[in-house]
Symmetry: D2
Subunit: 345 residues, 4 copies
């Protein structure tokens, strides 16, 4: 069997999962090496997964001749730079979301990809989740008629440690969390968001304000063809990892997700209690695997990526507008330079 | 047993239900007469409920000496005028929501109530629903900590007939539907909404636009103490009467409502099917009865109303701001004249 | 409007609800009088419901000339005797389940009804519950194909006080609780139960044994046309009043009921909690009203009852067989004397 | 890392899943070889999983010197023989349920295991499912008080092809399906089943009768310490793979499973539709993996198995009694020869 040689950059929680999937569950891939600026972490993961090579830089990783493709799972702010470096080395790329943490970096990354003529897919893995995929099939089959409303809720269980805010490795909530919903909005509604209105709050954790972030946000969406929507994000919901999406149409509605996410109910005189899901790696376990399998298969057979660099750019542009609206207290248009999307990867 | 003499004005779907409850299920009340400008309808309902008197005007209804209190269930735009007339006749009043369809009328109505020294309650019956009432108890007991987000969805099942838009008897969606959620927002969050941002759409029914209305809307809320929120309304959801509310706090969350509203599930090779609730009179049957019982009891014992004229005014002010935001594409403050709330009923 | 004159015998919890429904919510009925051997209770209920007459015996109740029909809601063991007395007085009858607590009494009651030529309906009100009624419609429409399995669970929330066992006013669990499921089994499966196998336990409340009762039971059913089933009853489930029924067929299945019976969910770091239903008068509120309305309407128009004396007899025969199986540790046939069903009311 | 050398016998649907898990997801194991009497199937699976060796007999498999443990996933009727052969070769064993299809074979197998001094675990993987494991923890913590009732439902989605009945590779429904529930009954109730009563039906597929099997069954259970229970099995439920278990106690109840097994709901004017789970390999994916990981870890560290040969024997004895009761129409005791359990593996 011909196999795709892959290298993984960044083996924190997310990158390690990708590496495990590639190593164990994707027969078409050969995980050649992993790299992490924390070299010791790279060494440990390599040992655990029984991978021959590990490196402490992307430069070193790119030296391996049998690596054809690179999976980027660094902190958000290093995504664009890593894409540029990998593209210049002629590698195909699967990069975690977001494409970048600002529009200039995003456009530079896409330009590099175009110039190098390599493939780039952005890691919006929810598109691969069985429930989301089934929803999309029904939308495309016209079963809910014309979409009228897009609604989404994304709540993480535990508050991020303050050190995460201090290190500023990821963008604020719009760039790191809500970006998933921005992508779903475009994908499920088969339309573009043209304008947004947003509010955010730090009320229960005021110290977050000095890092330019919020603990909760609501973003109203206005779509190009007339539909509207709202996305809520909350990073410390305490009770569960709770992700729900609705597409409401003229003939029916689709509701994805559940507040009852585990199959055991405990009934006492105090009521019924259920244990809930607590982590995205649990909820989207299947999606992450399906994603990396699809990417490997497409790259092996030189087929275009399912989630493009332009998808990454457009969702980022919504996040930028949402952040702007937070400060301006007015609706903000979603803006993309014409040039930026001319070269679709 | 001493009984409260009550007259009901307006016996359409809503008023008839109130009349039935008063006639049959509220022993403390005596339903003396009903009135409706459609005299024949008044006559028929009186016959069906075995009530002695019926009239075709509020003036005639107010003539009955043993009527102490009036329940107003006319079309929205007549609420304020009816309140003024009933107040001037010295009657206590339970008026369906909204208090009025514009701020000037609302303020005039409250002034008349204050001057006459009568009681006025506004018909926000959801506060009496067992699930909402239980939620409020938990909020007040501090069980979810500090409220961070208020979320609400209100979807009617069937599209209103175009004749309803033409007759313009009720206000647009914000005044007739969303007003319930505006009241819940203030009540459950124990806070005031200071600013809103809204989008609306007529995409799937463009002819609604000429009546100044929308078929769906999303309203972002900013509360005085820092919390935020969003309310969605949709008047033609097709699949069910679907009302859901969440209060999300620092220690937990409360979710009221369900998309699975009926207790029978039909399982076939095509999946699981449930029959859903289809009407507010079904979903809130208990609430309407509890409301009218509470009002009658309070009036008999000269206790202040649970939902005041000021509550009516403040929810209306949010609707006004939401409508303004729809046109201005910017956040709009919720404004109330200082004088308007000085005389709380 | 012509009205049916009704008298109610027994105004404990159940009889009082019937009286309230008849007095307030059934315009076609006139509740002439109520009777209870506890005369003071009869007097109080009459005052509360504003009914003119009250009596302390069935004999006195039957004296009222404008009473055409009698609703019997006494303790179980008095049902048969009251039916005989009312029938001999020429009254139509709605009698709470069970028809009687032994076969001899049941047969005597049916004979008296037949001889007097009056109508008799047995109070299996679940047939009137919207969810059960919808299920039956689907069964009759053939939507689940041929029925294969009948499953039912009936759990009361709070343990009966020991005084209830001592007074022995009702039959054991099979006669007072499971009898509902025996009736549902026959009705929904459109078939007769020919044999049963049962186990019971008193493990957590051994003192119940001396009254010949159990706290929980499981009864396997064998139907005449080949289907099978099981019914579980538990009288002290602690957590909720939990009633669930399934009809499983060759093309699909119907599931009635839910462990999530209330529409508010409370979410904390400890999981999701729901408040559950706690009483049959809450769960089956609509069914009791629909039942009495149907009975009154049928009696006014001289139409046959929907649930017949034979239905009462056949469900009782299953209970008798289930009790016998408990002691014999073998399958017991369901036996009815041919004569007993010859005169169907 | 020291690794456990494993061979897999039988690579049909179930055995192939075990092989995949061992090959890819259990770093502590080395899958040395697979064997199947259908040699071509063994060859294909070996190629797909990139395993060096494949064989077409257990004898050949046992020749591999670096195989320390054998996983048996043959048709049921070959389990006991394979256990004996593997035990005599000195291998530790994980054998799929049931231990055997009759008591004599089961006892012979346990005797061989005891004589050889090897480890044997039976594949009751539900004990490893997160929901069942969480339930057991609560039972053991005393949270539901004293267990009163055990209820379980096991329904397969699609009818087995008639060829499966003809080939008679597996035992009837009690031995192949209900055996899971028999094991759960013993495990979750921490008690032994002493007697059973059962009914079965072939009504909708009469041709199954000639193979001595049924399409649906209900089994009443009587436990040694007084609790009771019921298990239903149905092999062609059409709508879903539907597994549910309840343990009902004196202080509360635990409900495992759900009829709403997938997280997407489709809402239209015809009601709410959900897509349901359809296969045991999906529902119990996590359990199968956790099971094989635990077995490998225990064998590597020479710790006793979590599910013993005696567990296999005792669940089989319940199946035997249930089958007997089907024919005798009476309660049948669960019988085990004293000698059979003297040597616990």
């Amino acid at each position: 069997m011909k196999k795709l040689g892959v290298g993984v950059l960044g083996v924190g929680e997310m990158g390690k999962r990708h590496a495990e999937n590639l190593r164990r569950l994707v027969p078409q891939a050969r995980l050649v090496a992993i790299a992490d600026v924390a070299g010791e972490r790279a060494r440990q993961v390599a040992a655990e997964l029984e991978i021959e090579h590990w490196d402490n830089s992307l430069g070193a990783l790119l030296e391996h001749k049998d690596i054809n493709s690179v999976l980027i799972a660094t902190p958000d702010k290093f995504h664009a730079g890593a894409i540029i470096q990998a593209a210049e080395a002629g590698k195909n790329i699967l990069c975690e979301k977001p494409l970048a943490t600002n529009m200039a970096d995003a456009e530079a990354a896409l330009k590099a990809v175009e110039k190098a003529g390599v493939r780039l897919q952005i890691g919006f893995m929810r598109r691969y989740d069985p429930a989301y995929a089934a929803a999309m099939q029904r939308v495309e089959a016209g079963e809910i008629g014309e979409p009228v409303l897009f609604k989404s809720v994304g709540r993480d269980k535990d508050a991020p440690p303050m050190s995460a805010y201090q290190a500023n490795v990821n963008g604020m909530v719009f760039y790191n969390n809500t970006i998933h919903d921005f992508d779903l909005a475009r994908w499920l509604m088969k339309d573009e968001v043209r304008e947004v209105q947003s509010y955010g709050t730090v009320a229960i954790r005021p110290e977050v304000a000095k890092y330019g972030d919020v603990v909760a946000s609501v973003v109203n969406l206005s779509f190009s063809r007339g539909a509207i929507g709202n996305i809520e994000s909350y990073v410390q919901a305490v009770y569960a990892y709770d992700v729900r999406t609705e597409v409401v149409g003229s003939k029916g509605s689709i509701f994805i997700g559940s507040v009852n996410q585990a199959p055991a109910t405990f009934l006492t005189a105090h009521g019924a209690t259920r244990t809930l899901a607590d982590h995205f790696l649990t909820r989207f376990e299947d999606a992450y695997l399906a994603e990396v399998r699809d990417v490997v298969d497409n790259m092996l057979h030189d087929r275009p990526p399912r989630v493009t660099g332009e998808d990454g750019l457009r969702s980022l542009a919504i996040a930028v507008a949402a952040e702007k609206s937070l400060h301006q207290r007015s609706a903000c248009p979603v803006e993309i330079q014409a040039a930026a999307t001319s070269g679709k990867s």
